[in-house]
């Protein structure tokens, strides 16, 4: 019993250290990659290839003056970054990184809940408190706008995200993440059969993590730095940490739900496919790269269009996917899963074809008035 608790603690500390190191180097990788996308050199002065840049950044943010504006609500101003980082770090513990017992005889996850997926959705939905309490407690206008934007945005896209996974859960019949991965090892990865859900889930994950093209809460051109405006020093760094950790968690969740999680491709044989960590890490790295790629490619959406996209496109499409999967389960039980695969491919093609006709983007005056733009 006591050793169990100690082991769990040890694994939790390992996960936290791993996440924070990844965060530190993600900032460097992101800046280097963005620089390459924009044909510049990027940070390459501190250490070989700029590899010591994160260390320099850490020292700088710790020793900067920690400003608290007079109009700020002191307690909540302090609390907000800690809420953000706590929620971000605790969500990752539920992600399984390998088959049971593959970490020197231990299980390569911090905790394995039957409600694993729900737990991750619940903790990430709590993470929004950090952002919009930061916005409110700063006591000035721009952070408040950023906070309001983020809370409305996250609530809207949470719906699409939740609906996207419903169809997937109907197929797998479990919310346990290890169970979902094992189902995929048996039947084939879910991106094949839940292509529509995959698209909607990825888009809403971008919105949930406040990444471009959905980074309205900190839109520099309009809001200075949004909810971060009044933050400096280590508290600012904590928010950055939370954002990147959320991104890593989102990558891990996408990999686990749709791309076979910790399992490698089956044609390499059971032994190689079961090697812990490397497959999950490779998939996370791929998704982190896509996050950066998208940031370098797409411009930011306007706020009213973001809401319209969430409610009038993402939500109905995710709902339709749920209904289609339910119909498949009800009317074609025991038939090949490939019917769903063909359906997803057709719908995704239709979405790409009709993305040119921007009817859903038409500006609705009411929504804009509500959005406060």
């Amino acid at each position: 019993m006591l050793t169990d608790i100690l082991l769990t603690l040890l694994k939790a500390v390992g996960v936290v250290l791993g996440l924070l190191t990844t965060f530190a180097y993600m900032t460097l990788i992101e800046r280097r990659l963005l620089a390459r996308f924009q044909i510049r050199a990027g940070p390459n002065r501190v250490g070989p290839l700029g590899l010591l840049q994160p260390v320099a950044d850490a020292i700088k943010s710790i020793f900067k003056e920690d400003l608290v504006v007079t109009a700020a609500d002191k307690i909540i101003f302090w609390l907000a970054p800690f809420i953000a980082i706590t929620m971000a770090l605790s969500a990752f513990g539920a992600i399984p990184a390998g088959p049971a017992g593959s970490l020197f005889g231990q299980d390569p996850w911090v905790f394995n809940l039957d409600i694993g997926l729900l737990f991750i959705l619940a903790t990430t939905s709590m993470g929004v408190y950090g952002i919009f309490l930061a916005g409110w407690s700063s006591g000035s206008k721009y952070p408040l706008f950023g906070g309001l934007r983020s809370s409305a945005q996250i609530i809207s896209y949470e719906l699409g995200q939740g609906l996207s996974v419903l169809g997937l859960l109907m197929l797998t019949g479990t919310m346990n993440l290890v169970g979902i991965v094992n189902w995929q090892a048996e039947h084939g990865i879910l991106i094949l059969f839940q292509g529509v859900a995959f698209v909607t889930f990825v888009i809403s994950s971008f919105a949930e993590t406040n990444r471009t093209p959905f980074d309205l809460p900190e839109a520099e051109q309009e809001l200075v730095a949004g909810y971060l405006t009044e933050y400096s020093s280590i508290k600012w760094a904590l928010f950055q940490m939370a954002e990147y950790v959320n991104m890593i968690t989102a990558s891990a969740v996408i990999s686990t739900l749709f791309m076979g999680g910790f399992k490698g491709p089956a044609f390499l044989g059971e032994t190689i496919a079961n090697i812990p960590f490397i497959w999950l890490f490779a998939k996370i790295a791929l998704w982190l790269f896509i996050f950066i790629w998208v940031r370098a490619t797409l411009p930011r959406m306007r706020y009213d269009k973001l809401q319209q996209f969430g409610w009038k496109f993402l939500f109905p499409v995710a709902l339709m996917n749920t209904l289609a999967t339910a119909a498949y389960k009800a009317f074609l039980p025991n038939s090949s899963l490939w019917y769903l695969g063909i359906f997803s491919v057709l719908v995704v093609i239709a979405m790409i074809v009709f993305s040119g006709s921007r009817d859903w983007q038409k500006v609705d005056v009411k929504t804009r008035a509500v959005a406060g733009d």
Binding site: I76, D114, S125, L133, W136, S151
Partner: protein
């Protein structure tokens, strides 16, 4: 037992905070604290599913909306005067009746099944066990509640739905340019806007 006492104290402290803080934000945050401690109590009672749904729905969605509205309304505009003075005695009476009913239930409560069978049937409060009960034995109440929520949603939409006043500042040319969906929204052609 120790865990329960700690959680109970936290939950009650949050509840007292909810009604005693002057600032709306602090009140709402205290309520979030109470909801979270309740969720933890569910976990100690092996009701995992209920706990995570509690966090997701109440703390993650409903309270975020509450706080959103409080922030939009800007507290400083609130006056000190009580706009509905007759509510307080009614609320006190209602609170006493509710507390009495809860106390009565708590002391009169007899478990419908003995503890071992109930625990076995719960299966650790996993979604499977809850879903099965919800969609077989309690199907009618479940559907009734969902229809109720639908009615509430439609009601809310119809209440706020009205034709917007004509406001040129908020409109852009793309709303009128039906022939060309790609028309540049930033184009500032006043003739087109009026049309």
């Amino acid at each position: 037992m120790v865990v329960f006492v700690i959680l109970a104290v936290l939950a009650i402290a949050g509840a007292i905070g909810t009604i005693s803080f002057k600032s709306g934000i602090y009140s709402a945050l205290s309520l979030v604290g109470t909801l979270l401690t309740l969720a933890m109590m569910y976990v100690t009672l092996h009701a995992q599913f209920l706990a995570s749904v509690q966090v997701m729905v109440y703390a993650g969605a409903i309270m975020v909306l509450f706080l959103f509205v409080i922030m939009l309304l800007n507290e400083s505009q609130m006056s000190g005067a009580d706009p509905l003075p007759w509510v307080q005695p009614v609320a006190i009476a209602g609170g006493i009746v509710l507390a009495a009913a809860l106390a009565f239930t708590a002391f009169q409560f007899k478990a419908p099944k003995n503890l071992e069978t109930a625990t076995a049937a719960l299966q650790g409060g996993t979604p499977g066990a809850i879903g099965e009960t919800l969609f077989t034995k309690f199907l009618l109440p479940f559907e009734a509640v969902s229809i109720l929520l639908l009615i509430a949603a439609i009601g809310a939409v119809s209440l706020v739905h009205r034709q917007p006043a004509h406001n040129e500042a908020l409109e852009t040319t793309s709303e009128h340019a039906t022939d060309n969906a790609y028309s540049d929204e930033t184009s500032s052609n006043p003739a087109k806007v009026v049309a």
